[in-house]
Amino acid sequence: MAGVGSRSGVSYDARGLVEPTADMPDNVEVEGGRARFDAADLTIRQINMALRKLIYDDGITDVTILNPASKHSLAVGILKRCRIHFEGSPGWFACGLIDGPEVTINGRVGWSVAENMMSGVVMIERSAGSLTGAAIRGGDLIVKGDVGARTGIDQKGGTIIVLGDVGINTGFMMQRGRQIICGNAGMNLGDSMYDGEIYVAGTVASLGVDCVPGDWTDADTELIERKFRIHGLGDPPEFQKFVCGKVLHNYDQLEPSERKLVIH
């Protein structure tokens, strides 16, 4: 790939925090519709520039990024079906706002991986930080190690699968979707959740407000077995199911003035 200069509109940076210019990296190898490049010596901006050019301009559908070295905000906002593989560990906010890609990460990720993901798959071979899958709306997010606190906070859809443990406030205010936790869960599981299902195979330190045990159905078994089969996760363990008790928030369609009349 030829080195092409790029400029943003940023012209003043008092604190030296902005990268106003970036050259397109010239170490991208393309072969047979696949591309790969080493990100070790590239900036965040350069990595994302190269990735977007390959996917959007060059029509490449399979990109491998070597040595991401925990850099933040990689592969954010990719709205196209493609395969992205990270050979190493990205940092915070990786793969946020994606709609379509299948991402594999053979390292660890920092906070907020796949935040606001709309569709696609993100598969992480090791552990993840806090806020994993925050506010995701769709797709499957799989972490094979442990994750930090507040997994799937404000989740609006999709499925989060964690093969290890999760921390405090997992599923906080989740509105829809599923979480399948194969390890132990920290305190306040499902606190203030509106809807959705949380499955836990290990112990639960404590349930949050309005999170209650749910009745197991054949659909739950079918869902979990299907997800494990699709993603090659082996045989699923036995789970407990937790749902919203539906007593904390208002679930009727009454106006506030009407509710007063009905309740009283």
């Binding site: 925990s70 560990s89 915070w92 920092g110 930080g129 806090s130 921390g167 405090i168 920290g186």
Partner: protein
């Protein structure tokens, strides 16, 4: 915001000044306003004092050079009067100083006596602790104070994004646990019962250099340790006593400990190997130190971990 970092080498000394600088510089986006270090060199029979005689942005101006020289002479005079034998006094900046002394007396009396000199603030006191902090990013401060050549066993650092107080040295981390030797803390978060604990500790005779809640943690831990508790036990107590969201790193002459509050709202990532333990707000700081894929993890809520040299 703000970023914190810590390293401890359990098998001897290393270039901890350069290591912390690399870690802190990689987190410049978390706070470019000021950078601070608490580093531990080899201990000997001398007491090391780091002190400043003026804020960096108020150290120039008409008559300021003469005033700084006069106050520096007054500090040396007071050291002699209190019975300390001065070995060296050096300065990289003209307003921040490093002194080594032979002194077997009360450190609190020494610190109080020196801070009575106009503009004087003792940043650290101890047999091996040195707190260096100044305005700017890590590279700037490291170059200014020649930290690239500092060798030691362990240390912590902090990059500050000024939010609720001024961009000055008084608000910059780390904080020394006045008047306790060789104890310092860096902190990321907010304590919501700051005033309550400040009043309690002041009633026990402590004074504070700043209005910053982080200083509470340093003095709180040192107060408990002075009663015979271990660092680990003192840190566990702090999780019950201190309200708010916080992650902090505390160092003593031979230990480094980390603690996360019960909400685990503030980030910290940990890398642990046999010779080296490194902690930082973000993985990118660990990777600036260990240039390969390594296994790291986020400590969970209410977790306290302590390592020893």
């Amino acid at each position: 915001m703000c970023g914190i970092a810590g390293v401890i080498h359990r098998d001897g000394t290393a270039d901890i000044g350069a290591e912390l600088t690399a870690m802190l510089q990689s987190m410049k986006h978390r706070g470019p306003d000021s950078t601070g270090y608490a580093v531990y060199g080899p201990a000997d029979d001398l007491v090391v004092i780091r002190f400043v005689l003026a804020e960096p942005n108020k150290s120039a101006g008409i008559g300021m050079a003469e005033r700084l020289e006069r106050n520096r002479a007054e500090v040396e005079s007071r050291l002699a009067k209190i019975g300390a034998e001065v070995a060296t006094v050096t300065s990289e900046t003209g307003y921040a100083f490093r002194a080594t002394i032979r002194y077997g007396g009360d450190l609190k009396a020494l610190a109080d006596y020196l801070e009575d000199v106009p503009g004087c603030e003792v940043l650290s006191l101890g047999s091996s602790l040195e707190i260096i902090k100044d305005l700017g990013d890590a590279s700037t401060v490291s170059d200014q104070y020649n930290l690239g050549s500092f060798r030691g066993t362990h240390g912590i650092g902090h990059v500050r994004m000024a939010t609720e107080s001024e961009v000055d040295l008084a608000s910059a981390h780390p904080y020394w646990a006045y008047p306790f030797a060789d104890v310092a803390v860096v902190h990321n978060g907010q304590l919501t019962n700051y005033h309550q604990w400040r009043r309690r500790l002041e009633q026990h005779g402590h004074r504070f250099q700043s209005e910053c809640d982080s200083e509470i943690i340093a003095v709180y831990l040192a107060e408990y340790m002075s009663r015979g508790l271990t660092l680990e036990t003192s840190m566990k107590h702090s999780l019950d006593d201190l309200d708010g969201v916080f992650t902090y790193v505390c160092v003593t002459g031979n230990q480094l400990g980390v603690a996360k509050d019960e909400m685990a709202a503030k980030p910290l990532v940990l890398f642990e190997s046999e010779p080296l333990v490194a902690v930082a707000t973000e993985e990118v700081a660990i990777r600036s130190l260990v240039k390969r894929e390594v296994e790291t993890r986020d400590p969970y809520e209410r977790e306290v971990l302590v390592w020893q040299v």
